[in-house]
């Protein structure tokens, strides 16, 4: 049986049915032998982007390592909704230690595996944006610069959701959180703050850095799979919308993620050995307003009166991303 070449965006949701693909190209999730590493029955909210991202990421890593995987998990939603004792959704060896030390715990696991000659068992550290870009940043940077054999995955939902939607250094400008309220002359999170962790990861000259979203789950799986082909420190930053914190419909998680990419607000790229090797192009470039409008955290930009200047500022950020990362096809720009 021969297969017709397909493009992944041929269906309305930009995904492609696995039936149309050869076995090797099929999604890990489509495989009957998928491990369900983060098993069903957990307590995540409806439409949780983090739960979706983690399931795809960890199953892909399991697939890539022949199920020889250990995970260290930061405090946060992912940790809380996947347990408590005696229940656990994790079908892999999993440890939660603290909020800010996950990368270091993973370093310790990797060191133990190395000394015990079990380097075939691979180590993943995972956490939310707060545990990664803020409180866990020191340990993460240490793990990077030592080039410890750990894949760190950040599930970025742009605020501290577990504690009730407080600002993190990954919260975007203008976004309303519980600590950047939509009040005053400049409502929401200030412009000119925050950090770009994928860029910081790249600056550590580690083997593999990639970004992904839960709108392109095949791409996410492919990146996790690719990451496991490298040794040393690696980093994947996954954009995971949070219906509760962002104030969008729970069935819109994937759409919001796609809009973040298609507006240029979240650049999706892949870098190997310090150089960007591929960029996920924008196919239908959209104004940032399309992304902002469905989210209550940006509601103050549209009512009671529109804040055109703020929206323009956000558009400028998207435009800069598009230029900087070459997110549009030359002729589409």
């Amino acid at each position: 049986m021969s297969f017709q070449p397909v493009k992944f965006y041929q269906t309305g949701t930009f995904t492609v049915g696995n039936r149309l693909l050869p076995d090797a190209e099929r999604s890990v999730q489509a495989n009957m032998r998928r491990t369900n590493s983060l098993n069903s029955g957990h307590r995540a909210c409806q439409g949780c982007g983090e739960a979706l991202g983690a399931r795809y990421a960890i199953d892909a890593a399991m697939n890539a390592t022949g199920n020889r995987l250990v995970a260290a998990n930061a405090t946060g939603c992912l940790e809380v909704f996947s347990t408590p004792y005696p229940e656990t959704s994790w079908q892999i060896p999993w440890i939660h230690s603290l909020f800010g030390n996950t990368a270091a715990v993973a370093t310790g696991i990797a060191a133990a595996l190395k000394v015990k000659a079990k380097s075939d068992v691979r180590v993943i550290a995972q956490g939310g944006d707060g545990g990664t870009t803020d409180i866990g940043f020191g340990c993460l940077s240490g793990m990077f610069e030592r080039n410890d054999d750990v894949l760190y995955i950040c599930y970025d939902n742009e605020a501290y959701m577990n504690t009730g939607v407080q600002r993190s250094s990954a919260t975007p400008p203008a976004a309303r959180t519980a600590t950047t309220m939509a009040v005053g002359s400049e409502p929401g999170n200030p412009f000119g703050q925050g950090k770009n962790l994928p860029a910081i990861a790249l600056a550590h000259d580690i083997a593999y850095v990639a970004t992904a979203t839960v709108a392109e789950l095949r791409d996410l799986e492919a990146k996790v799979t690719r990451a496991m082909e490298f040794r040393g420190a690696r980093y994947i930053h996954i954009f995971v919308p949070c219906p509760l914190g962002w104030g969008h419909a729970s069935h819109d998680t994937i759409r919001i993620a796609r809009l973040a990419k298609e507006t240029g607000l979240f650049p999706v790229f892949e870098a190997e050995n310090g150089e960007i090797v591929s960029v996920s192009k924008i196919r239908h470039r959209l104004p940032v307003e399309e992304y902002l409008r469905p989210q209550k955290r940006f509601a103050h930009l549209f009512s009671p009166q529109p804040r055109a200047q703020v929206i323009a500022h956000l558009q400028a950020i998207a435009d800069r991303n598009i230029r900087k990362y070459g997110l549009c096809e030359e002729n589409a720009q």
Binding site: R68, Y85, W94, S97, I109, K116
Partner: protein, 417 residues
């Protein structure tokens, strides 16, 4: 093998003989020489099957040890002072998870004001963190306690802190008897973890426990520490049979049989206390000492038995519970709760202040005469303190309090002691 060496090196050699598999290092005086020596042994290949990791903070050091221990490796680190506080969250986590990490704490004061010298404020601040805390009297005991610590911690799945006085022991050259590898191997079996991150049998470690069971889990931690009280004397006994010397145990009495006054202390100051006691005994004073080797778990029954015959107890301690007084002495009082023996707290040696025989003799003589206050501070410059307090009453903007005190005290740079 007898060897004249630095305390830090002796400890490093003992740790190496325990075949650690992961060592994490972050520099803070006065523990640096220990991990430096271990790092050299790993790098040269002398200590094989061991990963030596230079981490970016003490918090990371303990966290790496947590990961390594949970993955089944024998993990070790060392710290002191601010470093112990910086890792405090992970220190509690290690014991809460039941991971038998061994850590040396080269005891040092806590700032501010910044002070690099010895006292016990660092480990005393962590006395309730769930770790077993053992205090070494000299470098031989520091070395020996590490070997016992791995044995004890791994048996109970509890982490163990070996506390040794910073600089006073870590930087002192003295004679130690270094055991052989076969002796240590005979005493310390390979680490068999109770829990391990293993793809063949996946477990979740460190998940949330709610109000329905948290009390019971904490009680189990307490019950394990109580088990340690039962195990420690046996391990010390076994240690003697393998290595031929007394080290460790819960408490150790010195000339206390007929003593009316018993001085309780921890760590290296016991040496100076014993010399002082010998002098005072020669002059007919009925005085003895009780060294606390195991501070956590608190050996209540052993302390009670050792102090049963005393008319008065003087607790000499190198830490201060600000707003209360003594820490060790309050523990001692729990052991004497059913007796009316007076317990005097003498705070001494804070921030490296020299504890001399002269000062000890005076304090003990005061105790005999019934003139020792319930709480006193050895060699405190009361006049200088009073002047600073008086100035604070007079001047609102009196400036940094430490600077004011130093101006009152004068510059002690030219002094030897």
């Amino acid at each position: 093998m007898l060897k004249q060496t630095e305390g830090s090196h002796a400890v490093a050699e003992a740790v190496a003989l325990c075949r650690p598999e992961v060592i994490c290092a972050y520099p803070i005086s006065p523990q640096t020489h220990i991990v430096e020596a271990l790092g050299e042994m790993v790098k040269s290949g002398e200590l094989a099957n061991c990963e030596f990791i230079n981490v970016e903070s003490e918090f990371a050091a303990m966290s790496v040890a947590i990961g390594a221990s949970a993955a089944g490796a024998r993990a070790y680190t060392a710290t002191a002072s601010q470093g112990l506080l910086f890792m405090a969250e992970a220190v509690f986590n290690a014991s809460g998870l039941g991971l038998p990490i061994v850590m040396t704490v080269a005891n040092r004061a806590i700032g501010a004001p910044i002070n690099i010298w010895n006292d016990h404020s660092d480990t005393m601040s962590q006395r309730d963190c769930g770790w077993i805390q053992l205090f070494a009297e000299d470098n031989q005991e520091a070395l020996d306690l590490h070997i016992q610590a791995f044995r004890l911690g791994e048996e109970l799945s509890l982490p163990v802190m070996v506390c040794m006085d910073g600089f006073i022991l870590t930087h002192a050259y003295e004679r130690v008897d270094l055991p052989t590898a076969s002796q240590v191997d005979a005493y310390l079996p390979p680490y068999l973890p109770r829990q391990i991150l293993d793809p063949a049998e996946p477990v979740s470690i460190g998940a949330m426990v709610g109000p329905e069971a948290f009390m019971e889990v904490r009680y189990l931690a307490h019950a394990k520490q109580m088990q340690a009280l039962g195990l420690i004397p046996g391990y010390a006994e076994e240690f003697r049979s393998v290595f031929g010397r007394d080290s460790g145990g819960l408490v150790r009495a010195y000339r206390a049989e007929d003593a009316e006054t018993i001085v309780v202390a921890l760590g290296s100051v016991l040496g100076t206390i014993k010399d002082t006691i010998d002098e005072m005994r020669d002059q007919g004073a009925k005085i003895g000492a009780l060294g606390i080797t195991c501070f956590r778990p608190w050996p209540l029954a052993a302390v009670r038995a050792a102090l049963a015959g005393a008319k008065r107890v003087v607790v000499l301690e190198k830490s201060l519970a600000v707003g209360l007084g003594g820490i060790v002495s309050n523990n001692v009082r729990t052991a004497l709760a059913t007796q009316d023996t007076p317990v005097h707290t003498v705070i001494a040696g804070l921030g490296g202040r020299t504890i001399t025989r002269d000062s000890l003799r005076k304090a003990f003589a005061q105790a005999f005469a019934g003139r020792l206050e319930p709480l006193s501070f050895l060699d405190l410059d009361h006049a200088a303190v009073d002047r600073v307090l008086a100035r604070e009453r007079e001047v609102r903007r009196s400036g940094p309090i430490a600077e004011a005190l130093l101006r009152e005290r004068g510059v002690p740079g030219a002094r030897v002691g």
